[in-house]
Amino acid sequence: METMKDEDGTILKFLDTMDNYLILFDSLSSTLRQGWLDLASARHSMGSSRISTALLNLKEHSASTVVRVNDETINETSGMEPHFTLRKWRTCEDKTNPIEEEEDVQGLLKQPSLNLRHRGFSETKEASNEPLVSVDDQVQKERSKALSVFGALVSPKLRSAQISFETVLETLIDIANARSVMLSTFEQLQQMKEQSN
């Protein structure tokens, strides 16, 4: 009886993660479409010569956004489960205090949000509002710096295209994590089925 309840619980969990995975894919598709349309709108407003691949910077520079794969999350039955985190707008000048965002596992069930979420350290949570304001300012500066390849004064449509593509990056990480959980839940189900057989 208890085994059946465990199996039912795992099946429900698998269906939940699959539903979340499909919702995230749908969200990714609509956000990407919006981003590409905003980019076309910016090109329409500013002109084709100002928004062009010919202006992208070929100078050597480090990535402002990186993905970290963390294998430390251990699942009870299936073992290691990869966990992906996105570190956005890392400043090259200040590597001792990088601007970071971390996607919690619980955050997988939430819709992607543009709000900054800090690490779950208690010191950070108890900190005053001042560090949050300076992080927001720094993020805005990094965003403006990334857009400056097209000029210092760009259309608001280009900025909204940038926000859309940033949201797409976050959604891709959510999708990767959701897929990881979904696959590990599926493995659990298969193991349960083999054991019951």
Binding site: L37, S41, H44, S49, K59, K157
Partner: protein, 351 residues
């Protein structure tokens, strides 16, 4: 105000005015745009355009077509028409026609300088330049390290030389300096063009002063909106506004203090000419501002054809063609991205 142009205009300008009025009648109509808006693919767009004057320019393009190809070929048509008019124009019309291209020249200079700063290949950048803004020594721009060298090595022999006096520094070129250089050059160009038209007098001065004033005001609004949230200071922003136009000087003072789109709206609604633009938009719809300004510009450009014996028709025709090319670009992008429901967000009908 009027110089009895009717008596003498046709001696030198009559033929070309007739030519440009003929070109005007070939601009796409609302029914053409309705057909284009129903296209499913870019090949359908090409098929519909083959029945227009763009047909010969697109007929040899292989599938699959790209939006950039459609824009490039349509621009080629405009350039051919312009060159045909320029080679048959006498003074002062030839100088007037050359003035129309200086804006594109400034854009090309900035494109080359910015691309070089980003270590791009010069040949790749030259392919992206607007053909109306090309000049002989444009490739040499890649050598300059600062504005003083830019002027001394290349631009001193171009029509842009007089516009450089306000922005020659020895500072190295970076993104903000280049942006300030672009807008300072464009400001000087608009003011010079305005003065040239005023000297011509008559109907040309009257019509062109209205069109150029609107252009200066629209630039001021765009600079304000694009500089919100950037490092551009209020004084720098004010220095980029032109010294003429309906908004000069009190509107510029208010615009230089604006921190968001709603404050810009508040500054412009005091002017009856621009009140109608904002009446079409509800609060928070600042994204429709571009389209509203384009619609107002098209209305003014079409009105210039109602009068004869002036050079404003040439300027108006060039601008209307550029608007048509922007429309075709937007329609092509919406068709290519399967977003046909958004076509009417940015298409401005001319007739």
């Amino acid at each position: 105000m009027y110089g009895f142009e009717m008596m003498t205009f046709n001696i030198h300008g009559g033929f070309l005015e007739a030519i440009v009025r003929g070109h005007r009648s070939s601009l796409l109509t609302a029914s053409d745009y309705n057909n284009l808006c129903q296209c499913e693919t870019l090949d359908d767009v090409k098929m519909h355009l083959s029945a227009t004057e763009y047909g010969p320019y697109l007929q040899n393009e292989p599938s699959p077509l790209h939006t950039a190809t459609i824009v490039e070929k349509c621009t080629l048509k405009l350039v051919d028409e312009y060159k045909q008019m320029l080679c048959q124009a006498t003074e002062p019309l030839s100088t007037f026609l050359e003035y129309i291209t200086y804006g594109h020249m400034i854009d090309n200079v900035v494109l080359i300088v910015t691309g070089t700063l980003h270590e791009r290949d010069v040949h790749e950048l030259l392919e992206k330049c607007h053909p109306l803004g090309m000049f002989d020594s444009i490739a040499t721009l890649a050598v300059a390290q600062n504005m003083r060298e830019l002027y001394r090595l290349v631009l001193v022999d171009t029509p842009l030389a007089p516009y450089f006096s306000e922005c020659i520094t020895s500072e190295d070129l970076d993104d903000m300096n280049i942006e300030i250089m672009r807008n300072t050059l464009y400001k000087a160009y608009l003011e010079d063009f305005y003065q040239f038209c005023q000297k011509m007098g008559g109907a040309t001065a009257e019509i062109m002063s209205d069109l150029l004033s609107f252009e200066a005001d629209r630039r001021a609004v765009n600079i304000t909106i694009n500089s919100i949230g950037t490092e551009l200071t209020r004084d720098d922003r004010r220095n980029l506004y032109s010294s003429f136009g309906l908004l000069y000087p009190y509107g510029h003072e208010e615009l230089s203090l604006c921190e968001d789109a709603e404050q810009v709206r508040g500054a412009l609604e005091k002017y009856p000419a621009y009140q109608s633009i904002f009446a079409k938009m509800s609060y928070g719809e600042s994204q429709l501002l571009d389209k509203a300004f384009y619609e107002e510009e098209v209305k003014r450009l079409c009105l210039s054809f109602e009068q004869q014996f002036h050079y404003g028709v040439f300027f108006a025709y060039m601008r209307l063609r550029e608007q048509e090319i922007r429309n075709l670009m937007w329609i092509s992008e919406c068709v290519a991205q399967n977003q046909k429901s958004r076509i009417h967000d940015s298409v401005v009908f001319i007739f």
